[in-house]
């Protein structure tokens, strides 16, 4: 093998095309572009929603109109024209499948390309899939198994029809419509998403998973996810995204709300691989997501995310530690390459006594990308004995990218114990040399080092996801050394 130089690596990295860039031609029913009260009503009507839901959306729409787009994040992009987006698109016919054979073969082929074929998934890990293609849930599997345990796992529109009391009680309680610009927008126009309810004392026997994709040209996607874990229950929820290659910027503004009641535990894992734009920074998805969890007494919420895609990411999965003895965790790997920009982090709001939070954030930047960690740790004056540990490490590859850390720490209680540390480094020549010396070629050595760098977070992912995440890391960074 000829000598593999840094330049080769960089070249290879540049020319690496988005592997999942394809476009499935499924006839879609798409609303006209633009947003007004009529569109909001139409979305609601389309989904056959009850009156209270329509009103709720309209209120959100009015709130949204009063708000302006935030610009405090460390990202630069051309602001989307919200009147040039179509707010609803659904696959034309929405058959209820009983088996995979009935599914549109073209759609199945799409999933094969993504490497997430349903049957394989079914067999492999017992993962129940709620597949979302362009905002409407097409297939829900393993529903029966879950139903036996009393677990509700369905699309949010179905939940609005069938469990209105649960949705009405919880929706908007963690992320209120007034929370921010994108949350308000999402509340007004969300097309679909997932709903999950785990009854008292039930441990969900399998990983729940949803794949989101953006498929139709010029459509935004606005998912709404609501997970409620009742007292003493446990659920592990997985979410993963890939999106086809497209030149226009696509907007993705999701809202995820988690509610962990007393003694409950929610583990929420994400692999995000939306289309990041090409090597010139053209195209790519705008990912403006509001994710927040509410912890009641003695409960735990754990966020794990692997962010490799999107042109612009704006995402802060947070925990409100309301109950005493509640625990919040945040594990994140954010990889940016080419012209990607990521401003991501978490908020840990300690309100209850003896609350604990852990933040581990790993940022890897290559190419001309900008990668920021922005976090808040807030200890209220009543939160006695609160404990926080934060660690933010950045790895830089090349001198055209940037790594930034903006940790906000606010303590108002004398018993608080907070530790924060951050480092920035590159892959050391000595590390590479050490590996080379032992017969590991440079490319493998880098994979090894990046893997080691991210291990603390990768370890937190469920097995099936860890494999995919590792693959993604390789695609994004393979052999890149500064």
């Amino acid at each position: 093998m000829s000598k593999y130089t840094e330049d080769d690596l960089r070249e290879e990295l540049k020319t690496k095309e988005y592997e999942y860039g394809f476009y499935t031609d499924i006839e879609s029913e798409t609303f006209p572009v633009g947003l007004n009260e009529d569109i909001v009503r139409a979305i609601s009507k389309k989904k056959n929603e009850p009156e209270w839901m329509t009103e709720w959306r309209l209120e959100a729409f009015n709130i949204w109109q009063e708000m302006t787009e935030p610009d405090w994040a460390n990202v630069n992009y051309e602001k989307p024209d919200f009147q040039a987006i179509s707010y609803y698109s659904a696959p034309n016919s929405k058959p209820k499948y009983n088996s995979l054979d009935e599914v549109d073969p073209e759609l199945l082929a799409t999933f094969k390309k993504l490497g997430i074929s349903l049957d394989e998934q079914k067999k492999l890990a017992g993962v129940a899939m709620d597949v979302v293609v362009d905002s409407v849930s097409v297939a829900t599997t393993f529903k029966k198994t879950l139903a036996e345990k009393g677990i509700i796992f369905c699309s949010i529109s179905e939940a609005i029809q069938e469990h209105p009391e649960l949705v009405k009680k919880h929706i908007g309680t963690v992320v209120p419509r007034t929370d921010n610009f994108y949350a308000a927008l999402n509340s007004a126009v969300f097309s679909d998403g997932s709903f999950c309810y785990i009854p008292k004392g039930v441990k969900c026997p399998m990983e729940l998973s949803t794949y989101f994709r953006i498929n139709q040209a010029g459509t935004g996607q606005f998912e709404r996810t609501l997970v409620v874990a009742d007292e003493g229950s446990y659920v592990s929820y997985l979410e993963g995204c890939t999106a086809p290659s497209r030149d226009e910027n696509q907007l993705h503004a999701a809202v995820v709300e988690l509610i962990a009641l007393d003694d409950a535990e929610i583990k929420y894992s994400t692999v995000q691989n939306w289309y990041p734009g090409n090597a010139e920074g053209k195209g790519g998805v705008f990912n403006f997501v509001t994710k927040r969890g509410l912890c009641e007494t003695n409960s735990k919420i754990s966020w794990t995310q692997v962010e490799t895609g999107s042109a612009v990411t704006w995402k802060y999965p947070s925990c409100v530690l309301k109950g005493d003895y509640s625990v919040g965790e945040f594990y994140s790997i954010a990889v940016t390459n080419n012209f990607q920009q990521a401003d991501t982090g978490t908020k840990m709001i300690h309100l209850g006594k003896n609350t604990k939070s852990t933040i581990i954030s790993k940022g890897i930047s290559a190419g001309k990308s900008q990668n920021s960690y922005r976090g808040l740790v807030q200890i209220s004056s009543r939160a006695d004995n609160a404990r926080n540990f934060s660690q933010c490490d950045s790895l830089l590859m090349g001198n055209e990218c940037g790594a930034h850390t903006f940790p906000y720490i606010e303590a108002k209680n004398k018993t608080a114990q907070i530790e924060h540390e951050a480092t920035t480094s590159k892959i050391g020549e000595d590390q590479i040399f050490y590996c080379n010396q032992r017969g590991i070629d440079t490319e493998k050595a880098i994979a090894l080092i990046v893997n080691g760098f991210s291990k603390e977070v990768l370890n937190k992912l469920p097995m099936e996801f860890a494999v995919e995440a590792q693959k993604l890391l390789e695609i994004s960074l393979e052999g890149s050394v500064g």
Binding site: G402, I409, K412, N413, K414, E419, A422, K426
Partner: protein, 437 residues
């Protein structure tokens, strides 16, 4: 009339009192426009998120000193580092006090800004350095607009200044609430070495607001040690804007000791314009009551192979608020940068709060940058250890707190300052221990 309007309108009166036919005056006119546009910073500005000036700005300050006040050395001796021989540049209510001062023109200039601005022989230095480091933010611009008096220190090449230089600003506040805007310029030549001590002291219960700007230029291989002692009355507030430009291989350290004042804001900015530069920023903050201390630091790494060390310790009691906002900016060219930043805090009361935001912005890949930040309490087992050996609680606490802030004191190079600071700390903690024994 609010303070902003008052300041803008008094600029004309100020113009009448000074020579306006100098190039410097264009700088002033420019600056007042900037201030008029921007106004005082509010909590909506990211850099002022945790510090509100409202409580400070509400007083009806007199902007110009009306009369010259005289102080007897005996009355104010305790505010001097008096046990060593020093050069002294002393101001009373913004006016130079010749009988308390000891300046020199012997091979170097340790004198006044007013004479440097007016005398032709300083013209070149003023043109090259004045307002060349200060940023155009609203408070610095305000100071620039009214810049007239302060310390002017110019050390030529290859000179080791044997005695430290003390700069003390007294305010007697005999008339009413008073606003002071001292402007200091310090230029240190190649291979030269100087130590400077700065202090702002109010002698009155009337409100005093000081908006100070200090520009420091360290040329090649210069060494500057700068000590800021902030132990003012709780009716006094200080906004200290310090801008330091360093050329290659220079070493500059700034130690800030914040124990007093109602509101203290330190804007400390380092710009590294050469290779192998070393910058040190250290601070101890011990406050109580309703005091507020805000450290806002910036280290801008522009060239390769430089180092910066930041170490800020804070102890907050009663209803005190501490803010630390440290920023390390590493440019793409600044490879092999070694930047370290630490901020450790102890909260002693439930009403006290600390907001800290240590930021790193890094554009170069081959760098070693780290920061650490902690908020915690005194170690119970250490307390128990001492108390079981007969050390009373108060003293044991004081010892622990002193130990906590000790590594900032370690790098203080003038022993008399170290002694003075330990005395202030002992006072502050209400104990009578000689920590240095």
């Amino acid at each position: 009339m609010d303070l902003k309007e008052k300041l803008v309108s008094s600029f004309m009166a100020f113009e009448n009192s000074i020579d306006v036919d100098t190039p410097i005056h264009d700088v002033r006119s420019e600056a007042i426009k900037v201030f008029e546009n921007k106004g005082f910073p509010s909590k909506r500005d990211e850099a002022w998120k945790y510090t509100s000036l409202n409580s400070v700005l509400k007083h009806n300050y007199s902007v110009f000193p009306k009369q010259e006040n005289v102080l007897d050395y005996k009355e104010v001796k305790k505010y001097f580092i008096h046990d060593i021989d020093t050069y002294k540049i002393i101001f009373i209510d913004g006016k130079y006090s010749s009988h308390l001062s000891q300046t020199t023109h012997d091979g170097m200039d340790v004198c006044l800004m007013s004479s440097a601005l007016s005398k032709p022989k300083y013209r070149l230095v003023i043109e090259n350095y004045f307002n060349k480091a200060a940023t155009k933010d609203s408070l610095s611009s305000l100071n620039t607009a009214f810049s007239q008096e302060g310390a002017y220190i110019n050390i030529p090449k290859n000179k080791i200044v044997q005695k430290p230089i003390q700069i003390i600003h007294f305010s007697t506040g005999n008339e009413s609430a008073q606003m002071l805007q001292p402007r200091n310029l310090i230029v240190v030549g190649e291979n030269s070495h100087v130590q400077i001590i700065e202090r702002h002291q109010s002698l009155t219960d009337n409100a005093v607001l000081t908006n100070s700007v200090t520009e420091i230029f360290a040329n090649k291989r210069a060494i500057i040690d700068y000590y800021k002692i902030q132990n003012d009355k709780q009716t006094a507030s200080l906004i200290d804007n310090t801008f330091i430009k360093q050329k290659r291989e220079s070493h500059v350290s700034v130690h800030t000791f914040s124990f007093g004042g109602q509101l203290t804001r330190n804007n400390l900015n380092f710009y590294q314009e050469g290779e192998r530069i070393d910058s040190t920023l250290k601070g101890v903050t011990i406050i109580g009551d309703k005091q507020h201390v805000d450290h806002n630091t910036l280290v801008h790494h522009i060239e390769p192979n430089c180092e910066s060390h930041q170490d800020y310790k804070g102890i907050f009691a009663d209803k005190a608020t501490g803010v630390f906002n440290g920023k390390v900016l590493v440019e793409k060219e600044a490879q092999k940068t070694d930047a370290f930043q630490a901020n450790n805090n102890i909260l002693l009361s439930d009403k006290a709060s600390i907001n800290t935001k240590p930021q790193l912005e890094i554009f170069a890949d081959d760098v070693k940058c780290s920061h650490g930040c902690t908020i915690g309490q005194l170690d119970d087992s250490a307390m128990f250890y001492m108390r079981s050996r007969g050390i009373p609680e108060k003293e044991a606490k004081a010892l622990l707190m002193f130990a906590f802030s000790n590594n900032v004191l370690d790098s203080v190079k003038i022993p008399e300052i170290k002694q003075r600071i330990t005395k202030i700390i002992a006072n502050k903690l209400g104990v009578n221990i000689g920590f240095d024994l």
